[in-house]
């Protein structure tokens, strides 16, 4: 049984990668042959196999870890964990990746770099699955780095930077000399460089956990087995804060929380399928997922005595909620389809962090609510991205354009968008309503702890969230500018996002019909009076935005928000300045090394070498004076010392 499990896990991770190897090579060496165009299907089949295995794990594998020994002496092994989080997350990841893969068959069919695309797409999925099922932090890092690498490859996929449709920002738009127009290659570079900044403290934190657990007894990197309580007691308050924040910097950058959000916005330079995958179940979700998984096993609600832990959770709570508000505001101001959705993703991720962090005070339900929100958001956001991709294809415009004619011509797309937006906005009685109610209740509970701000932030964010979703719908299908449509094909794409959006109904059924602990809790909380009021406010906000998607009077405010409150200055101006400062210091270091190696040390040796030889005058008399003088001086000196 154990061997079968190991085999299945190997298949789960390696089949997607291996199935994309043929296209990767064929595209380089045999691009002209007709059969090469069929090879992407093989890649999608690989994704399907992963999905089947993930489903098998969800329904037939009992909870618990599965260990494959690697370095048992150091307690570094391939440890996989099957629990509520990983089972559901695995299915979610594999399913979304598979559906987007199907969509990509049509969307990417005329691309100039298919080998590159499919290899990194499948590597992306496999890496995420590894992150999802890993219990060992070191192994998780492998998947984590795979995500980073694949995101760089995919965001910068259109590396030729030759088509404005793949850019982010407006051409020729400059503020204070800084161009607000980003190319795909730049986007890829920005993504990987930002993520690396976060990864470094994370590496050190993991190394520190290894060292500290060794000091406590046996080295341990398995999230579910680390003796967190003893660990926190051992390193004290400051140690806990430093360790956990350093560990969390990785998830913060991956999930694009403030101030690391810019890379996510320019990540929209990648193909839409990539954005869809990146924003739903992989990459950005990995950050929040890691936090949920950590909280799931740290059990902070049982550990109020642990020093410093409350500070950490407080930081995450407010960082998440403020990022959520920032993302929502940016989305309201945004006019680009994908950037709007990207900002909304950032907002959602902030809410997930906030809810999961609230678990410190409210208990496990905080994590559960956050996780449910992750799932709902993943399907809805993937749907919206796929829709946006379809619209970009049809209108050949990356800004929000389209009037009722679009809705008429693309009926399925229209209805899917309506359903996805109202579901995600949290309009009762659809899926996100129950989950958001859970979140409301969680934040409401925090008032007992003397914190009103989280609830206020959440409510404002929810209202704005509904508004910009409605704006997206309205500007693309109802009240946008007239768009020139070029309709052809699109059947596979439409099928893919229709299936995707129907998953929201599956989730809704699951919430209503399942008698699980978490689900019934969600229903219970959704029926509270407060939640109903919030639901009504959201409906009002949504309806208002449908009818008034853009307000002329607020144009300058909108531009400020749409420019992302000039956060780009941090990435494109301040950070490069720091980089230059470092480069200058390094340059001086290099020069001083050059000077000492090429000038100072050689001339020092030359001069001393000449001096050493300068006593060789050739006269015996002089030599005798030196030698006899030295011998006498030494003997006299020794005699004096010796006495």
């Amino acid at each position: 049984m154990s061997e079968l499990m190991s085999l299945l896990l190997a298949l789960l991770f390696f089949v997607p990668i291996l199935s994309s190897v043929p296209i990767a090579f064929a595209w380089v060496y045999r691009r002209e042959e007709p059969w090469v165009k069929k090879l992407p299907i093989l890649s999608v089949i690989g994704l399907f196999i992963s999905l089947v295995i993930a489903l098998y794990i969800k329904f037939y594998v009992p909870d618990g870890p599965h260990v494959i020994n690697w370095l048992p002496d150091l307690n570094i092994n391939f440890v996989f964990i099957f629990d509520y989080l990983s089972k559901n997350m695995g299915v979610l990841t594999a399913l979304i990746a598979f559906l987007i893969g199907v969509y990509g068959l049509e969307y990417m069919k005329d691309d100039y770099r298919l080998g590159w695309y499919w290899f990194f797409f499948n590597l992306f999925t496999a890496s995420m699955l590894l992150v999802v099922y890993s219990d060992n932090l070191l192994m998780l890092l492998i998947g984590w780095e795979g995500l980073g690498l694949a995101s760089w490859g995919l965001i910068g996929h259109w590396f030729r930077d030759d088509d404005d449709i793949s850019f982010v920002g407006m051409k020729d738009r400059k503020i204070l000399g800084l161009s607000l127009h980003w190319s795909p290659s730049f986007g890829g570079w920005r993504a990987i460089s930002t993520i690396r900044v976060g990864d470094m403290p994370m590496f050190f934190a993991i190394a520190a956990i290894f060292a500290l657990t060794s000091a406590l007894g046996t080295p341990n990197l398995n999230i579910s087995e680390i003796p967190w309580q003893e660990l926190f007691k051992y390193i004290g308050s400051a140690g806990t804060i430093i360790l956990l924040i350093a560990l969390m910097i990785g998830p913060f950058t991956k999930s694009a929380q403030l101030p690391f959000s810019e890379w996510l916005m320019t990540a929209m330079t990648g193909p839409t399928t990539v954005s869809a995958l990146l924003h739903s179940a992989t990459m950005v979700a990995a950050g929040t997922y890691i936090f949920m998984r950590l909280s799931w096993y740290i059990k902070p609600w049982d550990m109020h005595a642990a020093p410093g832990l409350e500070t950490v959770y407080l930081v995450v709570l407010f960082l998440g909620l403020i990022s959520a508000l920032y993302g929502a505001l940016v989305a309201v101001g945004c006019r680009e389809r994908k950037v709007l959705l990207a900002a909304s993703t950032m907002s959602s991720l902030g809410l997930m962090f906030g809810a999961a962090a609230a678990s410190f005070w409210v208990g496990e339900i905080g994590v559960s609510v956050a996780f449910w929100y992750l799932m709902v958001h993943a399907f809805a956001k993937a749907t919206l991205f796929l829709v946006a991709g379809h619209l970009i294809h049809v209108t050949h415009n990356r800004f929000c354009v389209g009037d009722k004619e679009v809705a008429k011509k693309l009926k399925v797309t229209y209805y899917v968008t309506i359903f996805a937006t109202i579901t995600l906005a949290g309009i009762p009685p659809l899926t996100a309503f129950w989950v958001k109610s859970g979140m409301d209740e969680v934040m409401h509970t925090l008032i007992e702890e003397g914190m009103l701000a989280p609830l206020v932030l959440l409510l404002i964010t929810s209202v704005i969230y509904a508004a910009f979703l409605a704006k997206f719908l309205s500007l693309n299908f109802i009240k946008g500018e007239k768009a020139h449509l070029s309709l052809h094909g699109g059947k596979i794409m439409a099928t893919a996002y229709t299936v995707m959006v129907s998953m929201l109904i599956v989730l809704l059924m699951y919430v209503i019909l399942s008698h699980g602990h978490v689900e019934s809790e969600l229903i219970h909380m959704g029926l509270e009076r407060n939640s109903m009021i919030v639901g009504l406010v959201v409906i009002v906000s949504y309806s208002f935005a449908i009818f008034k998607p853009s307000i002329k009077a607020l144009y300058s405010v909108g531009t400020f928000l749409g420019d992302r409150m000039y956060m780009a200055f941090l990435n494109d101006f301040i950070v490069p300045k720091i980089g230059w400062a470092i480069a200058i210091v390094v340059d001086y270091g290099n020069r001083s090394i050059d000077y000492s190696c090429h000038k100072a040390i050689p001339s020092l040796f030359e001069v001393s070498s000449h001096n050493i030889r300068s006593i060789q005058s050739g006269y015996l008399k002089r030599y005798m004076k030196i030698v006899l003088g030295l011998v006498m001086v030494i003997l006299v000196a020794i005699s004096i010392i010796g006495m």
Partner: protein
């Protein structure tokens, strides 16, 4: 000493006398008899590696004298070299103080004559310079040794210190350690290369053996512990002066002169090991291996200088052995020296030694590249080849040499 050994040494001395006498008739015969005189010692020694190494050095010296066929003492020079070799071997078979000191003189005196020979005019100036220094050295060394032994047996610590210092100063002067090295660069640049190859190789061994013999019998802990700092300082100065001095020297024999100063510094450093007698075997192994590295390298380089160069790989191998690249002998010698220094607590000296090994890299490589010429059949190539083969012997880690040294002590 056993009767057999006595017999062998005695008969080889008789052979040498015969050889010297025969040289008035035939040079070839003299060379042959001298070789035989050396080779009969080898079976007697039961193939002791030390004896074998010394005999090979002596044979290479004898062969190199062929290049200098027309010198002032032709024929007798073979016997002189062989005599030095026999004395160098004899010293490990005797425990008699007088005989030990006699061997020292026996090796020193032939060099007085050898230094002057040349295939042109005799180098009398150089000879005078050399002899003046050697006489002072020998006096200091012998008086120092006698004082040491006297002070040790009578427990007079002040006298012991004076004796020790005189002894070490004499040793430094004899072998050319800085700051008493003034004669070395002058003599090495003005004398003929072939006698220099003998003086830089065969003549350097016995002073150290005698020093080890005297010091091991007169170790005076804890006095040795405090006084050994003197040796360490001289060794460090010598390494630096030698290596830095050689860096920019233009004349090749001058480079070799400073290289000798540096190498003598390395070997002198091992004398600090008497702080802890337990590790003397390690230091002796390192010192002797370094002496052999120095001897074979110097013979190869000096004969090449005399003949205008030698084959490139051979020159580079010798240079790399000096630098201390594994698995050449120069690596092992430095390794043993370093480990003995570290074991007795002279870590700073070990660090200085390593730094100096690094400083020496440029000039050894320069030496090798300047001496490299296109391959041809020559005596220098043959001698260098033998030298390289010997330095390659330590591809087998020289534990065998260390074991032999242990039994010697």
């Amino acid at each position: 000493m056993e009767f057999l050994e006595f017999l062998v040494f005695f008969s080889s001395l008789i052979l040498l006398t015969l050889g010297a006498a025969l040289s008035f008739k035939t040079n070839k015969g003299a060379l042959l008899i001298c070789l035989v005189a050396l080779l009969i010692i080898l079976p007697m020694s039961k193939l002791n590696p030390y004896v074998a190494f010394v005999i090979v050095i002596a044979i290479l010296n004898l062969i190199s004298l062929e290049i200098l066929k027309h010198n002032q003492i032709k024929g007798v020079d073979y016997a002189l070299v062989a005599l030095m070799a026999i004395a160098t071997i004899f010293v490990i078979y005797t425990r008699d103080l007088v005989l030990v000191l006699a061997t020292f003189v026996l090796v020193s005196v032939p060099t007085y004559v050898l230094i002057m020979i040349s295939d042109k005019k005799a180098n009398v100036d150089t000879g005078i310079k050399y002899i003046t220094f050697m006489v002072i050295a020998t006096v200091l060394f012998l008086i120092g040794a006698v004082l040491l032994i006297y002070a040790h047996s009578n427990h007079i610590s002040n006298l012991y210190i004076i004796g020790y210092i005189m002894f070490i100063l004499g040793l430094c002067l004899e072998i050319g350690c800085a700051p008493l090295h003034e004669w070395v660069p002058d003599v090495f640049t003005s004398a003929d290369s072939i006698p220099l190859s003998i003086i830089a190789s065969l003549a350097k061994i016995i002073p150290f053996i005698v020093a080890y013999k005297i010091l091991i019998t007169t170790t005076f802990n804890p006095l040795t512990a405090s006084i050994s700092i003197f040796v360490a300082l001289i060794a460090a100065i010598s390494m630096f002066i030698g290596n830095i001095g050689a860096l920019t020297a233009k004349e090749l024999s001058r480079v070799l002169a400073y290289s000798t100063v540096a190498n003598m510094g390395y070997i002198l450093a091992t004398l600090v090991v008497f702080v802890n007698v337990e590790y003397v075997y390690l230091a002796l192994t390192g010192a002797l291996l370094q002496l052999f590295v120095n001897s074979y390298g110097k013979i190869g380089f000096f004969t090449s200088i005399k003949e205008g160069g030698a084959s490139k790989p051979l020159m580079y191998m010798l240079a790399l052995s000096f630098i201390g690249l594994p698995p050449l002998m120069g690596f092992w010698s430095k390794l043993f020296i370093l480990s003995s220094l570290v074991y007795v607590g002279y870590i700073w000296l070990a660090v200085i030694l390593v730094i100096n090994a690094a400083i020496s890299v440029p000039y050894y490589l320069r030496l090798a590249s300047e001496l490299s010429i296109s391959p041809k059949v020559s005596l220098a190539n043959f001698i260098a080849l033998i030298a390289v083969i010997i330095t390659l012997i330590t591809i087998l880690p020289p534990n065998w040499f260390m074991e032999a040294m242990k039994t010697l002590i």
